[in-house]
Amino acid sequence: MAISSARESLSHALNNRFLPNLEYLLQGSILDSAVEHLMHRLKGLCDNVDTSPETFHDLEVCMSLRQPNTNQPLMLRVRRALGRDAPFQMRYLGQPEVDQRRPTLVRSCMDCACTNGILDFLTEMGFRLEFEYIAKGYMFRKGRMKITVSKLIKIVPGKQDMANEPISQSYIVELSVVAPTGQENVGEEMRVFAEQLKPLVQLEKIDYKRLGNIP
């Protein structure tokens, strides 16, 4: 039997809808003073009750490539775990779709683990640094849903390891699922879960276009 090429297997996964390529997302924020209550609520609701929530401390670097004949630059986000040896994660996010009939924001999403040469590689391709920040916080799971509670930290250029300042006095809360195309019930599942976090945090579809020109 002839062996199929990697490209063939990839199109097979796409066509048969088992390649997760859509992200369903709800976002909200909570003040530092109230985050403990939210953590307790999440510990009670989520799967990883017996273990404490998984922590993360990541540096995210957003690189952009201006392409001829297109208005929007191509943006790729590269995440590196600080203080832990793990592959770099590269992520492509498409234009968000805020459809009134859908309970969550939906955008195309591609996650790709890669070796540590990625930033150098992208730079050689012509990508330029757009912005960078540090995200530090906790991750919970509930079925296929992922809930993160994270603090965003500013970076003083060239001083990544120094004590950097938080961007605000609150935590960003994100509820997301990355699923293959055509799984519409995901949104409903997320809406129900988001209801259970009220009134501590109000998770919503955030329309970035309304926020002005923020990437």
């Binding site: 062996i3 090429s5 490209r7 297997s9 996650d111 790709c112 040469g117 391709m125």
Partner: protein
């Protein structure tokens, strides 16, 4: 995962690629190797659209059926700097997002595919190289699994190549592994690749080296009106095969 050496098989006059592959396969089987599936290594090259003031960059994207979940890429920035990357297969889809900047040179899509054999600690792959369905040559890949440093097992691999496949191979390390002198911030440094820990990327780089030779040969061939160019001479002639 061990050490892999890739060797082009010199094509004798008047013999077809299929004949050579068949002949080598039979030889391996009669010497006690067992047939163990198929393999495929493919390579597609994307070229940056010319922009003012920047050299043309090339991104080579390769796959190896031995590492089916990975996509290997090597970027050549046009000024001699190369950066290698190993990523998930999704990387192929990301490349398609950049078609305005990087266009695939479809006519140079090249692959080596064929049968895979096992003999004790060795894996031998007989690849027939095709570019756009045209046969280009035979590449023999030989892997010695228990070792991760070429300098410790080169003699054994060499013996295997000579004894099993009757390819006459010199005592010196293959060109990919030979010592290179580079200049960097630390001054002049010698790289002894034969003493380094072998990685899957090294297999890919050897394939890219060979594929580039086959591609160049096509360009030379058409440029020189059908005579064999000097690039091909380096790769095939001079290997001492009777």
């Amino acid at each position: 995962m061990g050490v892999t050496v890739l060797q082009p098989y010199p094509m004798p006059e008047g013999k077809s690629g299929a004949y050579i592959i068949d002949h080598l396969g039979k030889r391996l089987l009669s010497l006690g190797a067992t047939h163990a599936g198929q393999f495929l290594v493919d390579c597609e090259t994307f070229i940056s659209t010319p922009q003012h003031g920047t050299p043309t960059r090339a991104v080579h994207v390769l796959h190896n059926s031995e590492c089916p979940a990975s996509t290997f890429s090597i970027i050549d920035n046009g000024t001699g700097k190369q950066v290698a990357l190993v990523a998930d297969n999704i990387f192929d889809l990301l490349m398609l997002k950049m078609t305005n900047t990087f266009t695939s040179k479809k006519q140079t899509k090249i692959e080596s595919r064929g049968a895979r054999f096992e003999y004790g600690d060795f894996v031998i792959k007989l690849g027939s190289v095709t570019m756009m369905e045209h046969f280009k040559g035979v590449l023999v890949e030989i892997e010695y699994k228990p070792c991760i440093t070429l300098s410790y097992c080169w003699e054994m691999i060499r013996e295997m190549l000579q004894g099993f496949l009757s390819i006459n191979v010199g005592k010196e390390y293959p060109s990919y592994f030979t010592t290179q002198t580079i200049m960097n911030a630390m001054g002049q440094q010698q790289l002894h690749k034969q003493n380094d820990i072998y990685e899957p990327m090294d297999t890919i780089k050897q394939y890219l080296e060979q594929f580039t030779n086959y591609r160049k040969h096509v360009q030379m061939h058409s440029a020189m009106g059908g005579t064999v160019g000097p690039v091909m001479m380096n790769t095939v002639v001079g290997m001492g095969r009777p």
